[in-house]
Amino acid sequence: MKGQLLQAQTKFGKLLDAAESDTQEVREMRRYWRLYKQQTTQLTAVIGSSAQSLAELTASNTPHLATRLDPFLAELDKRFAGIGGMLTGQAPGRQPEDIELAPDTAGLRALSQFQRAAVVVFHDRLKQLDQLTRTLFETTRDASGFGEAEAVPPRTAFPALQWPDPDRMLAVTRVMLTLWLAFLAWIYVDSIPGGTSMVTMACVYGMIMASIPMVTLRTIFKPLMAGVVFGSLIYMLVLPHLSGFLSLGTLLFVTTFGLCYFLSDPKQALAKTFALAMFVSIASIDNQQVYSFMVVATNVLMFPVLFSFLAVTAYFPVNLRQEKSFLRLLDRYFRSCADLLSGMDRDKQRPGTRFERMRKAFHIREVSSIPTKLAGWAKFLDVKVLPGTDAKHVQALLPRLQDLAGRTRELVEVRGSLHNQYLIDELGDEALNWRRGLQEAFMNLGSAPADPQQETYRTRLDGLMERLEARIRQTLDRSTEERFSREDGEQLYRLLGAYRGVSESLVGYTAAAGAIDWDPWHEERF
């Protein structure tokens, strides 16, 4: 189900991009719809980590100490029902209510340090759920028009400079390469079919393929050639017999209606687009209409030349085969996780340079966005050429990656908010050993997505966690209140919970990745 949720979120992003350009109401409220998308992604991550926290509490026989958990969950259900109603056009009948979520303090004192950490982290996640669902309710109310939001509120500041997304840069490179190949062919090959039209079409189809890189050329070849044949038949057999607006108008209406009606299934969207485009392109309706078979022949011969350019850019500069792209994204994901962990030991007294801030923001964006990109590629994986791989196992990886991304971001955030130098020094070597162990694991997983010795991860990480917990317990037990405040203590619990969360997520990922035979993925094929 988590895999389906991830794919639904990916699809929502694409539908929102399309709706912003063809629906005026969505365009006016696009800032709120973008916020809605961002908040649903955050909410998914928090729900996943809350469920995992509760599972960890249950497994360790620790009471959750949330005295008003049932009313809180009921309030969340009402908020989600309100959000669902607003999305279908119903006005919200009620506003979100406040629910007190303080843990039972007497019960908390009776727990061990580790158990207190787990309970504090669980309550933090409940508070995040409360805040996120409230914000999501308000955003949905504004986006759906039930609030008093302004259409496209003005920006108050310029967006911060950031490193470009590697996948967008690759798409741009691919389009430019296609365009240049077409230009050079037009200049140096005498009488190339299509002439300047070939250059124009190369740019258009280059952009189409760059926006859907996971779709192979074979997939679009048949609907495209079918569109060319359809347009050619209309051009040669029907148009010469027409005269006047009535007959031409009837043809245009019947053709457009017929194509949109018979190809209305979303799976046939590509065929419909190409058929309409080729009909308009080949028919070339003009005031002075001239009919020549050369038009048909030129269009038919132009597309093999075009496809040869697109085939070159499918392999240069980067091989865009689905399994290779999946492995490349996984490698980038784990390298970004390792880089985020390596930045944790930076001296907090020294403000980071602009380069360091941009680098951190880039890696956070990478770990947050790559699971969604992987969901898009996973749908198009050809498992027939990957023996030992089941599509279900690949889908099972994606929520694990998203969970790991959320836990890693949380760890970096919690570590960044811990300012008490005494506590940081006391953690000392244990935290450093743990972090180095994780970094090594991330770097190994980047090149080999599944470690054959996955059991050693569990053993090593459990050992590291035990030593870290013991160290934190010693620190808290022997320290006096002058050394650190109650808030610092809670931050330390959150840090312990965050360390544990990343460890558990990594072990969960390696277990899921172990079900896939990765050797065929690394094999070269045409």
Binding site: S191, F293, L301, N319, F526
Partner: protein, 70 residues
């Protein structure tokens, strides 16, 4: 067959011989690539796209030398 390179005529459409030879070469290369994939022999190549280009050139030269003069 005319041993000299000349344009190929399909009704009134004239096509350069290199275009026809190149198109046939690409089709043959696609068939070869599918067979190599099917029998997992493509795993022995370090960069299959370059091999694809090389096969296309080889087939174009063979067709251009023995079948369609270019």
């Amino acid at each position: 067959m005319n041993p000299f390179p000349h344009e190929l005529a399909l009704s009134e459409i004239l096509m350069p011989p290199l275009l026809v030879a190149g198109t046939l070469a690409v089709i043959l290369t696609l068939v070869t690539a599918r067979l190599l994939n099917k029998y997992r022999m493509s795993r022995h190549f370090s960069h299959p796209p370059l091999v694809f280009v090389a096969l296309t050139v080889i087939y174009t030269v063979i067709i251009g030398t023995f079948f369609i003069r270019i």
